[in-house]
Amino acid sequence: MVLLKLKFPFQKRVRLAQGLWLLSWVAMFSGAITFAMGVFLKTELYRRSEVMHNMDIHIVPNLLMAVGLASVGINICAGKVCHDSLDLSRFPRWKTFLPPFFCISVFFSSLLLVAMILSFALQASLEESLKIGLKNGIRFYKDTDTPGRCFQKETIDRLQIEFQCCGNTNYRDWFEVQWISNRYLDFTSKEVKDRVRSNVDGRYLLDGVPFSCCNPASPRPCIQNSLLDNSAHYNYEYQTEELNLYSRGCRQALVSYYMGLMNTIGPCVLLFFLLQMSILVSLRYLQTAMEGVLGQENMEIETEGYILEKGVKETLLETKEKMMKLFQLAQVGDASDATPGTEPEAEKPATA
């Protein structure tokens, strides 16, 4: 039982070939756009790689880039096949090429769906990676003289300014770490000695935040120090003050930024996947319709096109048998390699 049989008169074949040729050009550009989107996403992830603990999320842009490149090649081939299908003398050379071509194309197109699913599935991993990365970033904020960490301060400051966020979960994360380097603390002063002694690890902790947490939209000049002390500032109440610092945590800001990017890329990738699959289906119809014409004298006869010659189940069984045969041939080849060893031995006694 043939799967989805359609009749194709000559005009319909010609129009199918022409439409498909045009569509393959469109799909080629879509493939290039997918590649560009992958590159863009990778660049954006790479820019903030200092506050990310692991690179698991990079698989999404990598997949997009690979599929984009592959689809450019696939669609160029599809266009060429369409172009040649109008000329009966040139079409036969594609005969052996097309079945593996279809398998590879379907595989790459399904990778698009995989990329989309992964972009949602890896959100938790991204959040965890950012949590650890930001925690380390805030811890090493003060180490501006340690090689390898001296740019951590600048990175965190610029991150907080650009994404309008403060700290990991919120601004109180800065109260739990010492973010002022010991080089700038006067250890002879009473205040410093008190603070250092007030906790087990001997850290200089204070209820203050760096300047990069300040919100420019606040109507009053930024209050960075003694944040929890209402009496330290005139007309100030930290419980109701909303605009002084950024209220969002950087982890949440970054996660929503990247999720926003991937949610924008997602529908485009889905559209592209649908386009690619429709091209492959139409190409299959064209191939099977042209196969009916091959070997005939008159090009303008009506032929039938189908997706699968037999039903899905039967085709799967056939493919399995073919693979088993190929497998057995390989094994027989091994076996026949073993037998020449025994044959000369059998001949030897004969000759001897």
Binding site: T144, D145, C150, K153, E154, D157, R158, I161, W179, I180, S181, R183, Y184, L185, D186, S189, P210, F211, S212, C214, P216, A217, P219, R220, P221, C222, Q224, H233, Y234, N235
Partner: protein
Amino acid sequence: MALMKVKFDLKKRVKLAQMLWLMYWFSVMAGVLVFSMGLFFKIELRKRSELMDNNESHFVPNILIGVGLLACCLNAFGGKICYDSLDSTKFAKWKSILKPFLICCLFFNFLLIITAALCFAMRIPLEYTLAEGLKNGMKFYKDTDTPGRCYMKRTLDLMQIEFRCCGNNNYKDWFEIQWVSNRYLDFSSKEVKDRISSNVDGKYLMDGVPFSCCNPSSPRPCIQQQITNNSAHYSYDHYTEELNIWKRGCRDALIAYYGGMMNTIGILVLVVTLLQSAVMIGLQYINTSLSTLVNPEDPESESEGWILEKTVKETFTDIMAKMKAMGKGNQVDEGANEEAAATDS
């Protein structure tokens, strides 16, 4: 003696027409580019019009937009003429318009050169506008409760962060104005009363700057208050401290930004002028080569093309003579009188 005479056969004419048609399409796109650059420049000026006292001159971007549109139209028209030049019947209807069109193109080229010069020269008035605007902007920094000025603080803060600058000329400009609103000053405290009574206008002045002046590259947390007091901070010397706050003034930063933009646009307009001149010369060649066919009936005959029919000097004297003739058209009586007087004497 014609200027730069070239012999043309049919193949050469066809090739010239095709190449010129392609170049006209490039010129249309160049016109679109000039238009979009003018639009971009206009938007950038409007974005920061608060810092320019809202009276910045939009003359240059408006001219760029107009020139871009005009270039598109002229070049599209020229491309059509090129396309028709391959068919002698179609070309016949354009023949009469061609000479005025070429003169239009010449004037357009001069307009382009003037536009480019304006782009480079606009830097100077912009500098004055920015200086005034920034000074006033800083004065209104504290007025976050005055309608119409309540966003000045945010605008200035974001500008100082984005352009990595502090104050008008440098950070000391903040010492001369009160940038803390009175709503957040405790007038019963001694410190505030001292500062206010220390100057004539009763302003709360201090040697501190807003947080947006802070430089993230500094190895130490930002010192914003008591900047000139070395003893207020541990291990601090404000004479040698370079990285704490931005050293550059915002006027210089904005001038550099807009100046760079205008230089780029000016260079682009000059390139478009060159392209425009090239297509104009090409069209003149097509015009002359199609009007000097050896055998007018046979389209495959040879012809000659040139830029000017006579040399530059002779053409110039011809034009001057024509203009004098037009000018003297109303003064024929006077001329006749002069001649009569000359022959008499």
